[in-house]
Amino acid sequence: MTDGTGRREPRNVPSLLNALRQDGFTGAVEVTGGAGGTLFLRDGLVGAVETPAAPSARSLLLKSGRIGEPDWEAALAALAETGDLARSLTGRGLVSAAELHLVCTAALYDGAFAMALQPVTGWRTDAGRVPELAAWPGQEPARLAEETALRQRTLREHLPSVAEFARRPVPPVSAAGRAGLDRLGARTRTVLLRADGRRTPRDLAFALGRGVYPVLLDLARAAPGGAGRAAEQPVPAPLLTARAAEPYAPAGAPSGDRPLPRRVPGGSGGRPRGRTQIPNAGPPAPVSGTGTGLPEESAP
């Protein structure tokens, strides 16, 4: 990370990317902190982001059913001939180059956004690594930072703390809340119906093969207070109880003592019989913001 020209060490990832853009860097930037992740650059332009915090282009293509598993396997097997997964996929007619570019671009911005929700502790560059799939020629780092900040601002219109909301499991829709689902778009409905009180927005994104930001946006807009819904007309029952509407309890509130809907032991000591059921508890109340001091970076 040192550079011999005597310039100052970059303060954060956006300024690091700006510096690498000026240098025309080609290679990978491995970022640590939170789940971490890797940005892939060519001539300083960002072509891909891979992170556990958001679905990769591969996840988006496979989980959404856009490309079937056997076709994917076949494309991988053909890698020896084409030497390039993108060409392998487009060459077999599994996906058009335009579609692939679009999916890769969406994954790139989503990955950058998801990584920015967590504090960054460090980074190092590795000129040798290449991404599985990428959207070359790549995006200007300045535009990436701008879009990430815009996404955070958009979510903040609905949520008091984006990072906090993103880390929390999404409570299931209550029985009464189901009636209000008709008033939502099909995509939002799908997201809400997959919520089980265990999955975080990130987990839902992986389960659905969609981006973390679109999932967060759907959840935020469906929350009471979101999109002016609560103000305009009473929804039969809140879909996401009070998460956005109630203030967070101060740190130190009994967060750990409030159980999520949890499996009930089938029998202690002995052999549990059959599958135990998750009690159909209501959505958990907002838990304390132990991480209220969590730095929320405004850009990757």
């Binding site: 060459g91 058009s96 335009a98 692939l100 679009l102 671009t105 969406a106 008709d182 981006g211």
Partner: protein
């Protein structure tokens, strides 16, 4: 410079072929920009005016994937997304069934057409076009855009 050369070469091919050869020239070209350029130039002709600006925007996030021409009159991708989200929310609240297909905004001098292009296994994409009102048949232009966009995400 290099990009221009590649694109002019690529123009000789059909859109689908375009998609597949875009990298074989050794110069990476944004495949979406190339395809959008094709769609952009598909408007116009004797009956309908050419679009002054065309953009491909993510319907779920407002992210602009590609732009051709001057899109300033339509606002940013995020502005277009907000407009559509507002209309969609209103429709759903009013109890409308089904998904939004397109929106035409008529301003004093321009039409702003936004079509929702569904994608298999993914969030839809918005095709946004700004057209000169005095010289445009909006229905025809919408049709031309839809035809040009057909098969884009095949």
């Amino acid at each position: 410079m290099k990009n221009l050369w590649t694109r002019s070469r690529l123009k000789e091919f059909g859109v689908k072929v375009l998609c597949q050869v875009f990298e074989s020239e050794g110069v990476p070209v944004n495949a979406l920009e190339t395809v959008l350029g094709e769609i952009h130039s598909a408007t116009g002709g004797p009956e309908a005016a050419a679009a002054s600006g065309t953009a491909l925007i993510d319907a779920a996030t407002g992210l602009t994937y590609a732009e051709a021409g001057d899109c300033a009159a339509a606002g940013s991708g995020h502005d277009v997304w907000r407009l559509l989200a507002l209309i969609e929310d209103g429709l759903h609240r009013a109890g409308a069934e089904g998904e939004l297909e397109s929106v035409t905004v008529t301003a004093r001098h321009t039409y702003h057409l936004v079509s929702v292009l569904p994608r298999q296994g993914g969030d839809p994409v918005l095709l946004s076009a700004v057209l000169d009102r005095a010289h445009t048949n909006p229905a025809l232009a919408a049709r031309q855009l839809a035809t040009a966009a057909e098969g884009l995400f095949a």
